[in-house]
Structure formats: structure tokens, C-alpha cells
């Protein structure tokens, strides 16, 4: 498959945007300006970026508690996100949701979700909606390997397989679910094997390889758009940070963490881009610099924004 230069630049831009956004959130959280809890996507950027580069604005994605990267990859605006994470009225959810519920239905991003596994049937339903309406929309459902052990994994994939729905179940296998090594609580840790039980393709992908991600998802998306049904993709990566900011991570072997830091998807992709002559180091640095500025603006926007008034609590329940 030939990826266009534009696509590659788009993927890189998204990865850098996610990386820079998450680094800002990390700092802000440490500084105490963010209420509640945040789960960062650092180190996993290639997955969302590579996957969503196959989608249009009309397609759907469904996200998780670790959702900043997904929203950015689907085209989300970092200022509105930052405002939401900081609990401001100008945020995506007007301060009602926060980090765990960032969403932008207008661009098909059907929400981060604080309940592990809850996104799977929602994505399934969005795909059924596309099928019934006869559009060529597809849905990508992002979730962790931990979520793959929840009840909804089974019910959703079976439904989608039976109905041949245009949906991609994309596991972000970052090895950990909070402080549990997921392989320890599963009968079979090669998750792609589960696809056999539903009669659908199961694909293993290097989740830290942006190009591999793009290509594997391209195939699954094409399959979905053709009406051939769902694909289960297992993208291996690593959760760089604690489960949430503030997690001391006593449970993680140091060497493991260090080993995975070396697999940083960004330098890897950068090398690919420069080696193939697609972009120069300067071009990449310029995008990176642009992101730093974007985050400064996003932060300023968020911090200059008012908090919602307490009475707004009572709004937005019923349409």
C-alpha cells in the first residue's frame, strides 16, 4: 500500500499534537490546576494517529478513560479539550465531563468513557446505525487489553460479527490494567486468537509503528466499508506513565519500563520519515514547535475561560 506524503505528515502532526498535549496535561496536573484524575496516552500515540488517519469526519470512534489521544486523532481541538480537562465552561462538555468524558459528536467522537468496556456496544450501535442508514461510515472502537476481558467485549463482537457491521475493535494492549499485568489474569494472552471464536479476522500489529498501524487499519476499514464486517485488531504498546497521574507504580519492573521507553513511537516514525526522504528534520521540528505554541495557546484559552456557574448543574439532562 502506498501512503501519500500528506497522510504521513498528517499522522506525524497528530502524534506530535497528542504527545505535546499530554505533556502539558502532565505538568498541569502536577501543578494542581486539574481537578479529578487524568489518564495519559503518552507512548501510545501511534495507535490513535495511525488508525484515525483512515477515517473521515463522518466516521465514528469510541474511546476510553484514556481518551485524549483518540479525540485529537479524530480532529479534536486542543483548546476545547484543555478547557474541559480544566473544568471550564468553554470546554467540550462545558465542564460537565472532564478528562474521562471528552467528546465531540460533531466529528463522530462518541466520547471517552469512565466505565471500562462500555464503549464496545456503543461503537457497535453506531456501526449498526451506519448500516441501517446505508452510509459507508465505519466505527473504530478503541479499548485496552484490560477491557477485552469485560462482558461487553463478547456480546458486542458477536453482535457485530453476526450482523457484519462496519466496526473495528481495536485493542490497545499496553500490558497493564491499573496495577495488574493483564497476561496474569487471562487464560490466553494472545488476544487476536479470540477472533477465531467469532469468525472474524484477528490481526496483530506493532502499536508503536505508525505506518504499520495505518496500513493494518486501512485494510480493516476497507473491509468494513465493503460490508464484510468487523475486524479485531490487537496493537501492542506500553503505558509509559502510571495508570493515572499520581500512581507511584511500585508494581512495574523498572527494566521493562526502560526497555519500552526505547521503543518510543515518535523517534521511530521520525527516523522513517527522514530515512525515506519524506520529510526533513527541520520540517518535523517546525511542526513540533507549532505544537508547543498550540498548547500554550490552548492552556491560555482554558485558564482565561470561566468556570461554569454552579446552577448549570441543572442543565443538559433532557433534550
Amino acid at each position: 500500500m502506498a501512503i501519500t506524503k500528506d497522510k504521513l505528515v498528517e499522522i506525524l502532526t497528530i502524534m506530535l499534537r497528542i504527545r505535546t498535549f499530554e505533556e502539558s496535561v502532565q505538568k498541569e496536573f502536577a501543578a494542581g490546576t486539574i481537578p479529578g484524575i487524568v489518564h495519559l496516552y503518552l507512548g501510545e500515540e501511534a495507535i490513535a494517529a495511525g488508525a484515525c488517519a483512515n477515517l473521515t469526519k463522518d466516521d465514528f470512534i469510541v474511546s476510553t478513560h484514556r481518551g485524549h489521544g483518540h479525540l485529537i486523532a479524530k480532529g479534536g481541538k486542543t483548546d476545547l479539550m484543555m478547557a474541559e480537562v480544566l473544568g471550564r465552561k468553554t470546554g467540550y462538555c462545558h465542564g460537565k465531563g472532564g478528562s474521562m468524558h471528552v467528546a465531540d459528536p460533531d466529528i463522530g467522537m462518541l466520547g471517552a468513557n469512565g466505565i471500562v468496556g462500555a464503549g464496545l456496544p456503543i461503537a457497535t450501535g453506531a456501526a449498526a446505525s451506519a448500516q441501517i442508514r446505508g452510509t459507508d461510515q465505519v466505527a473504530i472502537c478503541f479499548f485496552g487489553e484490560g477491557a477485552s476481558n469485560t462482558s461487553r467485549f463478547h456480546e458486542s463482537i458477536n453482535m457485530a460479527a453476526a450482523w457484519k457491521l462496519p466496526v473495528i475493535y481495536l485493542i490497545e494492549n499496553n500490558l497493564w490494567a491499573v496495577s495488574t499485568r493483564s497476561a496474569d489474569v487471562m487464560g490466553e494472552s494472545q488476544l487476536s486468537k479470540r477472533a477465531i471464536g467469532y469468525g472474524i479476522p484477528g490481526v496483530d500489529v506493532d502499536g508503536n509503528d505508525a505506518v504499520a498501524m495505518y496500513e493494518a487499519v486501512a485494510e480493516a476499514v476497507a473491509r468494513a466499508r465493503k460490508g464484510d464486517g468487523p475486524t479485531l485488531m490487537v496493537c501492542t504498546t506500553y503505558r509509559w506513565r502510571g495508570h493515572m497521574e499520581g500512581d507511584p507504580q511500585f508494581y512495574k519492573p523498572k527494566e521493562e519500563a526502560e526497555e519500552w521507553l526505547k521503543q518510543d513511537p515518535l523517534p521511530r516514525f521520525r527516523k522513517y520519515l527522514t530515512d525515506t526522504g519524506t520529510m526533513t528534520a527541520e520540517e518535523i521540528d517546525a511542526i513540533q514547535q507549532g505544537m508547543v505554541e498550540e498548547m500554550e495557546k490552548a492552556l491560555k484559552f482554558a485558564k482565561d475561560s470561566p468556570f461554569p456557574s454552579p446552577e448549570e448543574t441543572l442543565e443538559d439532562i433532557f433534550a
Partner: protein, 321 residues
């Protein structure tokens, strides 16, 4: 106007709404062939398999997919068979239906959940619940429970057209009831109670098959010189407080009957509202006529003991006169 049964009224409602709006579709177990309730009769022949979708036994996927479809332009009707099965997809009920709120008002959720409820058929603890009180605690969910064919049709059409999630329950003993139903299109707005019988001495608030029971009790009370007003809530959410309070203002006495264990019942909520907002109108304690705090037993004699009935209601009313 013609007389049709409760079930026929519901079949008409779904059929008409599916004809009226292409985005309405049905998903659930056994909806294509036949179902325990007969609600889906003939629909798959008429509207095809795309819009009448048989699922596996996967209640989380059914309700969760309905949510995903409702958030993306469809108007699903999710068949959950019995309200007892809602425990399986309760995360959808308490944590996912609220998408609109969590997203700051960004989405519509035009979704109807239909299920049967109620005891009286000796099908024991897991197929006879009503769960009214449990369900009323769910944020952002409207709940309709008709007591006759006319209301059944009007409320179901309102539910399907509603841009918010609605749970529409049918009591197992109501299905055969008949009433006059207009030929032309009509809806009954959610959240409007109906005074099914006027009276001056005591207010009886009831719902679903309990209305039929309350009306029978009211007749007997009349014979004893007690004039009971019978309110049919029709919707548990939104709850029509005004109709209840106005009635209590008139009668000074309140008995609430709902078919469920008394603790945490819908009757508790109604009693609490009146004890707070209409206390000064009350001339007597508020009585709840509910079931005891136990699961529903199988054997008919015990089941009948469990179900709040006419005698229980008459006794409660008499105690506060």
C-alpha cells in the same frame, strides 16, 4: 373509535411509528419470529430484517448498541423482554444513558426500551418484578407504564417520538385489557398523570395493573361510604407531582400502591414528596400498599399474598379514615 386490546394498541403504535419515521428500528431477542409479548407481530415482514433485528441473548449489547445508534441519528426500540433482565444491562442504565449530560448537552438520545413487568403468573422471583423504585433513581430516564389500551398506545407513540431515553413497561396482566381507541393519530405526553376516578375522601395513587385493582377497590369503598379518588400515574418519570398534590389538597388523605417490595418503592418517593410539599393538607398518615420485602415466591398462594391487592388497599384506606 373502536375497541381494541392493550396488545393491539401497542402493535399499532409501533407499526405506525415505524411507518412514519425511517429511523425507528427494533432490536432484541426473538423479535423477528415471535415474542413472548407479541409486540413485534408482522413487523419484520413489513419493514425487513434491517429494521427488525434479532439479536443473541446479549442484553448489554442490545441496550448498548441502542444507545450508540440513538446517539448517531437512529431512533431504536430495544426489546428487553422482562424488566427483571435490566440488571444485566444496568451499567447502560445508570452510566451510559446519561451521555447527553456528560457531554454538556451535545447529543440526543431518542431511545425506547420496552419490557414486561409484574407478578401474577407464577413465574417466580426472576420474571415477576416491577422495580419501579429502583428504576426511578436512574437519571435522565423517562418511564411510562400504561394501565389501559388507550394510554398504552398514546404513551408508546410518545415514547418513540421522544428525544430522550424512555423505558416503557407493560404489566403482564394488562395485555388483554380493551378500551376505546381513536382511529386517528394521538399521543399521551409523558409525565401526565390521569385521574381515573374522582373522589373526595382519600387519594389513591396507583400505576399499571394496580390501577385496575385500585378502581375495583374504590367501588367497594364507595359501597362503604368512602369516596376514593384514583390517580393513574401513567409515567413514573417525569412524575406528575401537581396532580397528586392537588388531589391530596382536596382529600387530605393519601394511599399509594405500587406492586414491589415496600422498601425503596415508587410509593416511598411519592409519600416523601407529599410529606414534604403537602404536609399541611394531610389529615392522616400516608399509607403505602406494596409488597413485603422479599423476592417474589413461586407458589400461587404465596405469590397472591405477596401482591398488594384490593383487600390490602381497602384495609389501608379504612385505617386512615
Amino acid at each position: 373509535m373502536r375497541e381494541i386490546t392493550f396488545l393491539e394498541a401497542q402493535q399499532e403504535a409501533i407499526n405506525e411509528e415505524m411507518g412514519r419515521d425511517d429511523t425507528v428500528f427494533v432490536l432484541g431477542e426473538n423479535v423477528q419470529a415471535m415474542s413472548t409479548t407479541g409486540l413485534w407481530k408482522d413487523l419484520s415482514t413489513k419493514y425487513g430484517d434491517m429494521r427488525v433485528r434479532d439479536t443473541a441473548i446479549s442484553e448489554q449489547a442490545i441496550l448498548g448498541a441502542a444507545i450508540g445508534a440513538a446517539a448517531t441519528g437512529m431512533r431504536p426500540i430495544a426489546s428487553l423482554m422482562f424488566v427483571d433482565f435490566l440488571g444485566i444491562c444496568s451499567d447502560e442504565l445508570i452510566n451510559q444513558l446519561q451521555m447527553r449530560y456528560m457531554f454538556g448537552g451535545k447529543i440526543k438520545m431518542p431511545l425506547t426500551i420496552v419490557a414486561g413487568c409484574g407478578a401474577g403468573r407464577s413465574i417466580a422471583a426472576q420474571h415477576s418484578k416491577s422495580l419501579y423504585g429502583w428504576l426511578m433513581t436512574i437519571q435522565g430516564l423517562k418511564i411510562a407504564v400504561p394501565s389501559n389500551a388507550y394510554d398504552a398506545k398514546g404513551l408508546l407513540k410518545a415514547a418513540i417520538r421522544e428525544d430522550n431515553p424512555v423505558l416503557y413497561l407493560t404489566h403482564k396482566l394488562s395485555g388483554g385489557q380493551s378500551s376505546q381507541v381513536p382511529d386517528e393519530d394521538y399521543i399521551i405526553p409523558l409525565g401526565q398523570a390521569d385521574v381515573k376516578r374522582e373522589g373526595s375522601d382519600v387519594t389513591i395513587v396507583s400505576i399499571a395493573y394496580g390501577v385496575t385493582m385500585a378502581l375495583a377497590a374504590a367501588e367497594k369503598l364507595q359501597a362503604n361510604g368512602i369516596s376514593a379518588e384514583v390517580i393513574d400515574l401513567r409515567s413514573l418519570a417525569p412524575l406528575d407531582k401537581e396532580t397528586i398534590i392537588n388531589s391530596v389538597q382536596k382529600t387530605g388523605r393519601l394511599v399509594v400502591t405500587t406492586e414491589e417490595p415496600v422498601t425503596g418503592s415508587a410509593a416511598a418517593e411519592i409519600a416523601a414528596i407529599v410529606a414534604e410539599e403537602a404536609f399541611d393538607y394531610l389529615d392522616a398518615p400516608i399509607k403505602r400498599v406494596c409488597a413485603p420485602d422479599t423476592p417474589i415466591p413461586f407458589s400461587p398462594g404465596m405469590e397472591q399474598f405477596w401482591i398488594p391487592d384490593e383487600d390490602d388497599l381497602i384495609k389501608a384506606v379504612t385505617e386512615i379514615m
